[in-house]
Symmetry: C2
Subunit: 249 residues, 2 copies
């Protein structure tokens, strides 16, 4: 028996999210189906660093699973990719110690969110950007990002549907906003993220970009710990799980 860690990419547009569901095309389901074929009908359970919602993409999702299938590690990547649909791709497979756990051992995660700041729709960007037609003050959003860095209780910025029972304290190491032509890139690195946290933060940053709020409002919002103080969760297609870091990395 060997434990394998995989880094996977997916275009979330045609999946009903990560989590396995009956009669739905999900990332978890597609991965286990490929593993089932490889293991001649023996079910192999995978564990991911976390779930992603319908429409959310991944450039560096991480999973682990145990296998009794004895092939050289170099062949795993090709064998799996041959069985997977073309919107789900295994970028790297490596053997890890038996104690490695893709969810419990996460040290750091990076999410990115992409906004297409144009009035005109773009059919080639509809699944990969959030099209936002109003003009934005980039410097105000950059200033707001600085208030997010550090250890805070993010209750205000987590979905009311969240089932997390533990602490809502998380540490953000990096929060940035960069403009490249009509494309705006937001990067967040942190110890972990609550359910919908990035998408709720982006909604507030866009309010600040429109000058409907001040950058320093972030401080008060964090202190008040109340989801009802902030607006809508932005749509999923701009969101990418970019990287997951572990102790061993």
């Amino acid at each position: 028996m060997v434990r394998l860690k995989c880094i996977i990419n997916y275009d979330g547009s045609q999946f009903s999210g990560f989590q396995i569901q009956p009669n739905k095309r999900t990332i978890h389901g597609s991965l286990e189906k490929a593993l089932l074929k490889m293991h001649k009908g023996e079910h192999v359970r995978i564990i991911a660093s976390g779930r992603t919602d319908t429409g959310v993409h991944a450039k560096g999702q991480v999973i682990h699973f145990d296998s009794s299938y004895d092939i050289p590690v170099l062949n795993w990547k090709q064998a799996l990719n041959t069985l997977l649909p073309d919107d789900l791709y295994i970028q790297e497979v490596k053997v890890v110690p038996d104690i490695f756990h893709a969810r419990f051992d996460v040290m750091e995660k990076e999410y990115r969110y992409y906004v297409w700041n144009e009035k005109e729709a773009d059919v080639f960007k509809r699944n990969y950007f959030y099209q936002f037609p109003y003009s934005l003050n980039i410097e105000a959003m950059q200033e707001a990002c600085r208030y997010l860095v550090g250890t805070h209780d993010f209750t205000t910025f987590s979905s009311a549907k969240a089932t997390t029972k533990g602490s809502k304290e998380r540490t953000i190491y990096k929060a940035s906003c960069t403009e490249r032509g009509s494309e705006i890139e937001f990067i967040f690195r942190g110890s972990g993220f609550l359910y919908n946290m990035v998408r709720i933060i982006i909604g507030v940053l866009l309010d600040i970009g429109q000058e409907r709020r001040k950058p320093s409002d972030i401080e008060n919002l964090l202190e008040n710990k109340d989801r009802r103080l902030v607006g809508e969760t932005v749509p999923p297609q701009g969101l990418y799980l970019w990287e997951v870091k572990y102790r061993e990395d």
Copy 2:
């Protein structure tokens, strides 16, 4: 009755091509369905500059149609876009003289083809680039492009399935190949293009890029007028109908 000319964009990935077909999702079908709704059940026939195959995209396809629906021209764009699916977008609507014809009046067309020159698959590029894993001599392909410019009989570079009965002579005004990191962009502007012509040319250019043929082979291939002398048609997802020009432009 007014004649309207529209410039339309579409992401071809989820369409079964342009041409209307029973029980298939096509660009023609989606456009006429939207027009049927707008005209309260009255069928409105559209004419396009030409068809595109399944998987082929458009940044500047042109159609025309006649309508008795009396609304200001500025409202047409929004009214139509509201009724269209989000992978099909009307970029511009304008009133044209009754004698304008989207197919017969074409003066010039531009097609582009995008190659992703990497060994590793990219889930976000799979529908928009042709992934080509072998190294390419860009200068050789650029030299080959120069042999394509001018007026030639393109029989060698047209599909054997082509139903065109007339002359296979076409004039190419521009043929270029540009490398940008791992992305290779091919641009072709010409008086017109035969069925599959761009995709067959790209196949030969990639042979030349791999140094399996010389750039000057293009001359002999054109002279010999035989489709069997050249290789496979490259896949559709790298191809974009970029612009259609008319006398009036």
